[in-house]
Amino acid sequence: MMKLLLALILLLPACSGPYTKAGGLYESPNRSYSFTPPEGWMKYKVDGSLLMTRDGPFSQYLLVQERTLDKPYVHTGKHFLKGMLPQEAAQVVLDEMRSDRVLVGFHLIDNAPAMLGGLDGFKLLFSYRDKEGLVVKSLYYGAIAGDRFFSVRFTAAEKEYFDRDLENFKKVLSSFEIKS
């Protein structure tokens, strides 16, 4: 999924059409969630996900996703189940990440309970190396609401962008509301 997203985004600057400026309140098409994107960032919608970046997805991106619990993942055969605790949902996400061979040197820094959109969820902080050997850091919040799973993820080059843009991510997180 991420590879498809990134591939699409790489192709986009040439036509620059699907990128739109982020700003104001964003509400998902099915009105299941809303949040306030960072000012001055660009956003791009694809397949139920919303990706936002300021300097390009290889520098930093914010990814908001909504998926049904039974939607299969790419790298692990596991999926979410109704009634899963946040810790168990976090395990599914972690297994998906760890099964992805593109993520070289995957290192889990933190795995803890956290709120997302007013719901009990989890947060994961992890790092890995990208294609150039650059260390990339990711902060991932997730929560199950009924038969859907919501996640908000911030990924950035650790040295240059992670700390710099972390505040933007926190603002998105604090404005995130799950409505259904």
């Binding site: 189940l81 395990q91 061979r101 070289v104 995957f106 795995n111």
Partner: protein, 382 residues
């Protein structure tokens, strides 16, 4: 595809047994003159670079016991090889049934392959095949063949995409040459393993299993699917070898020795199967490990994890039983305590949940799930 992944992919393709082999009728390695030596040196330098990428990927398992064991089997296949330090064996973390060799004698084998093979005879045929790629300079010969076919092609040392097109999807003639090399590795490897006294029928058992793996073990791994597209052809080839040479082989299978030395790879592969959501394969792996190490708490914990994560309500009792067994074997093991706490917590049996969570924190105050456990305990007390 990242460059690291791309590099790994290219080297897997290039150095995998599909590509490194020679003609059935050219068993003698090519003479080494000065010019070829420099090409060989460059190939070896490139091999070292690729190996460094692999080593830095974090996917190499260093396990002295299994490496020494592999070296011992290699010594049986090619006496003197360990004294000459001609080969080095490395394990890659992964569930694939795959192995490949570099021209400098470093042979990589996936822990999934070690886990799923049944005995030393099967291992010997795999190692003998890979070692033949090295001893018969298949990488060098494939390189030379490529240059011969495309005189303008200067090779890829240091270029952005070294050795392009040597993969399985290149020209028909390169494919044919790669198949020839493959056939040579099969034949000479088979002869060497037979001469070492291994039971010849085991190679067919292994190939048939690789060709038709149990449904629960299947992966969607493109590399495995493309590495040996001619598996049926290989099976026929080995059947022909067997009909001619069966009498030359011995009876050695060394099943018990093999299972003992590979036990940790079995456990690792079962964990990977669980991570990748192949629950039946993970369960089989855990049970296989427990047959070898019946008093190992980690094996029981893994078995419990498979049952619990599978998500079937009826399996939770089996999970509990496995966790209790793990605790019985190692009372200071925090993980099964936490897992039992989770089961009881979800069932609303908060007294039992609390007892297990508290025990978990008392035996290991800094477990990675501590933040979750403290939250559960708050609710249990409420």
């Amino acid at each position: 595809m990242t460059s690291i992944r791309k590099s790994i992919f290219i080297l897997l393709l290039f150095f995998s047994s599909h590509l490194m082999a020679a003609c059935l009728h050219t068993p003698t390695p090519p003479a080494t003159d000065q010019a070829s030596l420099s090409v060989e040196e460059e190939l070896q330098a490139r091999a070292r670079r690729e190996q460094r990428i692999l080593e830095e990927s974090g996917s190499i398992i260093r396990d002295e016991e299994i490496e020494t064991y592999l070296m011992g089997v290699a010594e049986k296949i090619l006496p003197g090889s360990s004294r000459e330090r001609r080969f080095l064996f490395r394990i890659i973390e992964g569930t694939r049934m795959n192995a490949f060799a570099f021209p400098d004698g470093v042979v990589y084998i996936h822990c999934g392959m070690l886990s799923r093979m049944e005995n030393e005879a099967q291992l010997a045929f795999v190692l003998a095949h890979e070692m033949t790629h090295v001893t018969h300079k298949h990488a060098f010969r494939a390189y030379e063949k490529r240059r011969e076919q495309a005189p303008g092609w200067a090779g890829g040392f240091g270029g952005p995409d070294p050795l392009p097109g040597l993969g399985a999807h290149d020209t028909g003639s390169m494919d044919a040459y790669a198949r020839d090399l493959e056939a040579e590795a099969d034949r000479i490897g088979f002869e060497r393993a037979l001469a070492a006294g291994y039971s010849p029928g085991e190679v067919l058992r292994l190939l048939r299993r690789m060709n038709h793996p149990p449904e629960y073990e299947k992966t969607t791994d493109a590399i495995v699917l493309t590495a040996h597209p001619d598996m049926e052809e290989r099976i026929l080839r080995y059947e022909a070898f067997l009909s001619r040479m069966e009498a030359k082989g011995g009876n050695a299978k060394n099943e018990e020795v093999y299972r003992f030395h590979t036990r940790r790879m079995i456990l690792r592969t079962a964990r990977l199967d669980l991570m990748e959501g192949r629950f039946p394969a993970a369960l089989k792996g855990a049970e296989k490990y427990l047959e070898i190490c019946p008093f190992d708490a980690e094996g029981y914990f893994l078995k419990g994890e498979v049952y619990r994560q599978w998500g079937k309500w009826e399996d939770l009792e089996r999970a509990k039983k496995a966790y209790h067994r793990a605790i019985l074997l190692n009372p200071a093991y925090p993980d099964p305590q936490a897992a039992l706490g989770l089961i009881y917590f979800k069932r609303g049996e908060k007294g039992l949940a609390r007892r297990h969570f508290e025990t978990c924190l008392s035996v290991s105050p800094d477990v990675p799930e501590k933040a979750y456990i403290l939250g559960y305990l708050k609710e249990c007390i409420r």
